[in-house]
């Protein structure tokens, strides 16, 4: 076949995806960085180059940004640790133990992952509802005199309520992921551990965890990146940053500055900081958790 026709074929195959990818992903990404150097209000009407001013304002006393930073870091750590612990334990139970209805549990645990975050937010709004909510009605069943807890209306509690919804959503996903990698751990290791009388907990920490360590490291990066993204989705649907900015997270604050406040440049500067932060944190976690791979 002619070389010419091959080149044309490859071009035809790749051109559409390169065009779409460039137009809707590469150009907007470059624009995020470019816009962060401008003071840009309203619909492209006024646009002045201000250099690093946006970043200077951001780091020199924007209290709401500080609040969103604290909330995000809190969510990343709480959600990651709790989800990691629960999903690892359940993955280990479902792949190591003789349990009846194994498949049923796996299917059920994964359900929250296929639901839209809007739905999960609506469900948890009903659970957290102060007067007729499910959670408060359970609490008052045990203690009738107790005042209702304002799960989404109390500045100190709201962020943990959101964390609860996020954990509920994430457990199944990571559990299935850990189960997949646990399936590749050779059975003979557990058999010999049994012969030597090692207990289940011992086996879990000395065999299972070390042998799926590379998978665990991958999921840690996922935890960081998806906590930042999902917290935005949950906050947008559940509290809209309220009460009084107490549940504001990185990206919801970015969105608020860009849209509600029409400070596009400032919003994009926040985007750049968050982007850099998530990469740096993933990099650090990746470095800290490095272990020499185990040869079997």
């Amino acid at each position: 076949m002619k070389k010419n026709s091959k080149g044309a074929f490859i071009f035809m195959c790749l051109a559409p995806s390169v065009v779409l990818f460039t137009l809707f992903m590469v150009v907007p990404t470059i624009n995020v960085f470019r816009m962060s150097f401008y003071r840009w209000g309203g619909y492209s009407a006024s646009r002045t180059f201000v250099g690093l001013d946006n970043f200077r304002i951001l780091f020199s006393g924007d209290m709401r940004f500080l609040q969103s930073f604290q909330n995000t870091v809190l969510l990343i750590s709480v959600v990651s640790i709790v989800t990691f612990g629960i999903s690892l334990v359940f993955a280990s139970i479902l792949s190591r133990e003789e349990v009846r209805g194994k498949n049923f549990f796996r299917v059920v645990f994964y359900i929250p992952n296929i639901l839209s975050v809007v739905i999960i937010s609506a469900i948890f709004s009903a659970i957290y509802e102060a007067n007729n909510g499910m959670l408060n009605s359970i609490i008052s069943f045990f203690d009738r005199t107790r005042e209702p807890v304002y799960w989404l209306g109390d500045n100190d509690i709201v962020i943990f309520s959101i964390a609860g919804a996020m954990v509920w959503q994430a457990i199944g996903y990571y559990m299935v992921m850990y189960m997949a990698s646990m399936a590749s751990v050779p059975e003979s290791l557990y058999e010999s551990a049994n012969l030597e009388g090692a207990g289940k907990i011992h086996q879990f920490f000395r065999i299972t965890v070390p042998l799926i360590w590379s998978n665990i490291r991958t999921t840690m990066t996922f935890f960081i990146i998806s906590s930042i993204n999902l917290s935005f989705l949950f906050v947008t649907a559940m509290t809209n940053g309220g009460p009084d900015g107490a549940s504001e997270v990185f990206l919801s604050y970015m969105y608020r500055q860009a849209y509600t406040n029409s400070s596009y440049g400032y919003g994009m500067a926040i985007g750049v900081v968050v982007f850099t932060f998530s990469f740096a944190l993933s990099g650090i976690v990746n470095l800290v958790t490095y272990r020499d791979p185990i040869e079997i």
Binding site: C13, F21, T29, V176, M254, G271
Partner: protein, 294 residues
């Protein structure tokens, strides 16, 4: 085989089942509760939330479908999801095929470029995309035409497809590289051209991963709402189902129309649940091919 379990083993087994059932209950109960709430009368929401519905109050669904425009929104959601999947397949399949089966000059660069796309989340770039469309529409108006890019569900589908490209190409390429090149050679010898070989020999073989791609992306497109809320802004204009639902959630606080809201939730949930139950095995297996959510 041990005949008698020691006491500690029995306790351990009890603990396992308590944990498993506990987690299962915490997943099933809230979801089932929504189904129950969707057939309750509004007055029933002011009492104990655990009471069973007094009757089958289907009026909620009628209200949600008509008054809250969920029927119309569902239509939009179906169109956007189907269209985005079609665009995605038409665009991503040939690209993934070429990137994994041919050697050419730009190959390495393009692969790295698409891989880089995996790290860009739409939440970051939705504002520039919105501003870009504002600009495009501005040009059109300058020439006396109507705006085209904002408030257009076809453009929304195009954006969905584009933002799903990196992950889809990554997943499909990973499958194409595993196929033996003898299939293509045989097809060429039989006189098939590049295009015919790709369409009639290679794509059918990739069917399992094509199905995985369709499953993951239709769930993602159906559930997405940040891009939809940003690009469909005209007051009273059309919305996708999740966005309509969110508006209903916000209105619900004021008007206290709980029944309608939960009926709307059921309408969004049922298609995904049905799809999931039909293909749950495929979905949880496909996930191990590598996926990043959120």
């Amino acid at each position: 085989m041990k005949l008698f379990e020691p006491e500690s083993d029995r306790l351990y087994r009890i603990f396992i089942y308590v944990a498993l059932v506990g987690l299962a209950v915490s997943v099933i109960v809230p979801v089932a509760w929504v189904f129950m709430a969707s057939i309750k009368k509004n007055s029933e929401f002011y009492g104990n939330p655990w009471l069973l519905p007094e009757g089958f109050h289907y009026q909620n669904f009628v209200d949600a479908w008509g008054n809250a425009r969920m029927g119309e929104y569902m239509m939009s959601s179906v169109i956007v999801t189907l269209l985005a999947i079609c665009i995605l397949l038409v665009v991503a399949l040939p690209a993934a095929y070429c990137l994994s089966r041919f050697r050419f000059r730009m190959r390495k660069f393009l692969r790295v470029l698409f891989m880089g796309g995996l790290f860009i989340n739409v939440n970051y770039i939705v504002v520039p995309i919105f501003l870009m469309f504002v600009g495009f529409d501005g040009y059109l108006r300058d020439y006396g035409m109507d705006g085209f890019f904002l408030n257009n569900i076809f453009v929304l589908a195009l954006v969905y497809a584009s933002t799903a490209l990196p992950f889809t190409i990554y997943l499909l390429s990973g499958y194409f590289v595993t196929l033996s090149s003898s299939y293509e050679e045989a097809a060429y010898i039989d006189g098939a051209g590049y295009f015919r070989t790709m369409m009639h020999v290679m794509f059918p073989m990739a069917l399992p991963s094509i199905i995985t791609v369709i499953l993951f992306n239709s769930l993602a497109f159906w559930n997405e709402y940040i891009i939809a809320i940003t690009l469909l802004t005209r007051p009273g204009g059309t919305r996708t189902l999740p966005v309509g639902l969110m508006n209903l959630m916000k209105a619900q606080n004021a008007a206290a129309q709980y029944g309608q809201l939960y009926a709307g939730l059921v309408l969004v949930m049922v298609p995904t649940l049905v799809l999931y139950i039909c293909v749950q095995k495929k979905l949880t297996e496909g996930m191990n091919l590598g996926g990043l959510k959120g």
